[in-house]
Each structure stands twice: as structure tokens, then as C-alpha cells.
């Protein structure tokens, strides 16, 4: 067991955890932030995507202790995020989700893609989103939603 202290969604957190605890289990089981989903647990599906120091990582293959002192942001922290508000609307409009299980990881990844300018066309979007699996086979909707969000965010910034 070790003591961990880090910032989660802007709040300083101190806890005592088993060393083997992943960041995903820490967020879900210790902090009750269950918006971070766990499916494959070996870094393939992208459902557990969270931001650490503002870049997306996979919480299921990250030891919680390895991010001590850093700042983590989960899907719960994006309620009022202007870009995420647009992305949410677009996912709703373009049928970018069905069951919603992959959605927290999807929208966090899409937000990062838009920020890095890595969604020029549908092909690039599909390549960049290859690490996020949707088992409802909603990729066409997700690609459309991403294109829509990219354009709206660009227009609102101009």
C-alpha cells in the first residue's frame, strides 16, 4: 500500500491505495468517477481514456501511482467545457452514439483531435479514431459528428 496525492478534476485528492491499482480503478472505485469506462483492460478499446496533464492516455494501463502529483481530468470535468458542449450536441445530432458505453472515450479523443487539427477529412478521422472501439457499429455517425464538431468549433473561434 502507498499514499497517493494528485489532482482530479481540479480537486486535490490524497488516498492510500494498493500499488497495483490502475488509474482507471482508482477513479472508479476510490473516487466513484464511473464515467471512465473499463472494457478491454489492455489498452485496445479506448473506453478508459482520460486526460493527464491535458493529454489523453489510457487509464487501464496506467498505474495510479505513476501519475502522482499530476493533474487528471475525467469525463465528469467537461460538463461546462465549451468545446465539449459542441461535441456533445454534434454526437447527439449526427447519431454518434447508441448505447453510450464508448462515448466518454470517444468525445475526449475527438476533442483532442480537434485541438491538434488531426481531423482534416473523414479518412484522417477514421485513422485517428482507430483506437476507440464502438460495438454498436456507429462509426459513420461518429465520423459525421466529428466533422460537424470540427466545423462548428472552427467557426465559433473565427
Amino acid at each position: 500500500m502507498s499514499t497517493i496525492s494528485l489532482t482530479v478534476n481540479g480537486i486535490e485528492v490524497v488516498d492510500v491505495i494498493d500499488d497495483r491499482t490502475t488509474l482507471a480503478d482508482f477513479l472508479r472505485d476510490h473516487l466513484n468517477l464511473t464515467g471512465t469506462h473499463l472494457a478491454c483492460e489492455h489498452g485496445v478499446c479506448g473506453a478508459c481514456t482520460v486526460l493527464v496533464d491535458e493529454v489523453p492516455i489510457r487509464a487501464c494501463i496506467t498505474l495510479a501511482l505513476s501519475v502522482a502529483g499530476k493533474s487528471a481530468r475525467t469525463i465528469e470535468d467537461f460538463e461546462d467545457d465549451p468545446k465539449m458542449q459542441v461535441i456533445r450536441e454534434c454526437f447527439s445530432e449526427a447519431h454518434g452514439l447508441q448505447c453510450g458505453f464508448c462515448t466518454p472515450g470517444m468525445v475526449l479523443t475527438v476533442r483532442d483531435m480537434i485541438q491538434r487539427g488531426r481531423c482534416v477529412n473523414a479518412q484522417e478521422i477514421r485513422q485517428e479514431l482507430a483506437g476507440n472501439l464502438c460495438r454498436c457499429t456507429g462509426y459513420s455517425g461518429i465520423v459525421k459528428a466529428t466533422e460537424l464538431a470540427r466545423d462548428r468549433i472552427k467557426n465559433s473561434a473565427a
Partner: protein, 282 residues
């Protein structure tokens, strides 16, 4: 799907990391980004009771020119190379390779050194850096050593790293603007481990002419006949000749265990041909 019991140690420096490992009789495991090690530990394919986190060792994040070479720290992430935050001494080659590794959220954590030390035969850096003629810089308890990448990886997930040895980084040649390179891989799905990789690096000013086949066996292999042919100044038109096909088939047959009539053999042949075509077109 959870890792087994382990003790986590955070290394403050290179000496600290090695001392921590020696304190556990060299049985501890260094972890950088952990993007291969953690999945394997979750799947219980790998286990280590002592994990030493080396991501916060300042020296491992450094990159600088060292004489004729360029040193890249083992802790540099794929994303840093992809984004051009680290100088690419190979005229865009490293940036191209980095962009194609797995997914962005993996690239944000996965490191150059971690990929080499993990030594997956289908990983990108072992193949890409072998073609570049990189040299591994290793911190060894008895004294630092430099080992060419051709002698670094011994086989399937096996390297020459001793029990407490720590890979500090790689020495890379600084390619000239006239250098030509290509790196092509075949994946069924974007981001998965490749089924075949072809890498070609040509720089006459450096005397560099390497064609490497990856994901074809226990470790990436240099194709000697093709490399020699490339160093003699091969022309694009020669690619379609029977002589070239025979040479390539001989190289692949000798360096892999695939039957000539198999799908794999054909795939490797196709990827190498594509790589050579791309490099010669530059």
C-alpha cells in the same frame, strides 16, 4: 484483467534506478510508458513484483547532438517525436514512424527506449532504428556501454540488457538532406501491431544503405543482398527485373523461416518492394 500484486518504486535518477534494481537482486522491472508492459501484466502474461518507474529521470528525456551523432533519451515519447518537439536528425523519418505507432493516447505515454527494451518483433522502433544504424547507450553497473542495434536485440522480446542494465537512449546518425528513406507497414487495422514492416534508409554521405524487414520472425532482420544492391546505386527500373526478384527472394528465404509459397513470404516481399520503391522515388 488486473495486474498481480506488485511494489511500485519511483526512481529519482539513473543511479537510483540501478541501486533499486540491485537491491532486488536485479529482478525488478523498469517501467517507462508501460504501454506494452501494463497490458501484459493485466493479462498476466508478464509479472514482476517490483516495478521501478523511470519516467521521471531527467537524463532519459534529453536529446542533443553528440559529435557526429544525435543522442535521443530513452524516455522520449512517440508523441514528442510525432509533434516535432524533439529534433529529428533523420530528415523526417523518425517523425513519420512515430505518427504510425498505435494510437495517440498510447503515443502520449509510450517511449522510444521502452519499445526497444521490450523488443517486440512487430514493434516499430526496433525495425526503424535498425535501418537507421542506431547504437544503444546502456547504463551498466560496471560501466556504461554502447551496442549497435544489430547486436542489441537477441530474439523474441529478448535483448542483451543485463539484469540491472538501463537503456539510456540511442545514438543516431545525422542524415544529410540528400538522404532517402521509407517506412511502410501492413496492418489489418490502423494502430495494431504490423504483420510486416519494410524500412529503407539510404544516405551516401553517411555510407548508409540499409533495408530491414520487421515483424517477420523473432526480431527485425537486415536484408544483406538488397542492402548491398542499394549501396551500389540501384535504379527504380531494376525493381521489375527477374534478377531483382531472385535477389529479394533469396534474402527473405535466408532471413526468415517462411516457405516461398506462403502468404507471409509474399506479404514480406510486397512490403519490402514497396519500401524500396518509395525510397528510390524520393
Amino acid at each position: 484483467m488486473k495486474a498481480g500484486k506488485l511494489n511500485y518504486h519511483l526512481a529519482a535518477g539513473l543511479d537510483d534506478a540501478i541501486a533499486l534494481n540491485l537491491a532486488h537482486d536485479g529482478m525488478a522491472k523498469y517501467m517507462a510508458g508501460g504501454q506494452s508492459l501494463m497490458p501484459m501484466m493485466n493479462l498476466r502474461l508478464a509479472s514482476s513484483e517490483e516495478i521501478i518507474d523511470i519516467t521521471r529521470i531527467p537524463e532519459l528525456g534529453q536529446s542533443r547532438a553528440m559529435g557526429e551523432h544525435f543522442f535521443m533519451g530513452a524516455g522520449i515519447t512517440h508523441a514528442m517525436i510525432e509533434d516535432g518537439k524533439v529534433h529529428d536528425p533523420a530528415q523526417g523519418y523518425l517523425q513519420h514512424v512515430a505518427h504510425g505507432i498505435a494510437y495517440r493516447s498510447i503515443r502520449n505515454k509510450g517511449t522510444l527506449g521502452g519499445s526497444l527494451a521490450h523488443a517486440d518483433p512487430a514493434a516499430d522502433w526496433p525495425t526503424a532504428l535498425l535501418a537507421l544504424g542506431a547504437v544503444a547507450v546502456i547504463k551498466r553497473p560496471g560501466g556504461d556501454v554502447q551496442i549497435p542495434l544489430a547486436d542489441f536485440q537477441l530474439g523474441l522480446m529478448e535483448t542483451c540488457l543485463g539484469e540491472a542494465d538501463l537503456l539510456m537512449g540511442v545514438l543516431l546518425p545525422q542524415l544529410s538532406t540528400s538522404a532517402r528513406w521509407s517506412y511502410v507497414k501492413f496492418c489489418h487495422k490502423v494502430g495494431e501491431f504490423a504483420h510486416s514492416i519494410g524500412a529503407v534508409v539510404l544516405d551516401t554521405t553517411q555510407g548508409l544503405a540499409n533495408a530491414v524487414l520487421g515483424a517477420a520472425g523473432d526480431k527485425p532482420v537486415l536484408l544483406p543482398r538488397l542492402s548491398a544492391k542499394l549501396s551500389q546505386g540501384m535504379r527504380l527500373s531494376e525493381l521489375t527485373t527477374d534478377a531483382f526478384t531472385a535477389l529479394l527472394e533469396q534474402d527473405i528465404a535466408e532471413q526468415t523461416s517462411h516457405d516461398k509459397s506462403s502468404y507471409d513470404f509474399h506479404l514480406h516481399k510486397t512490403m519490402i518492394t514497396r519500401a524500396v520503391t518509395e525510397a528510390l522515388k524520393k
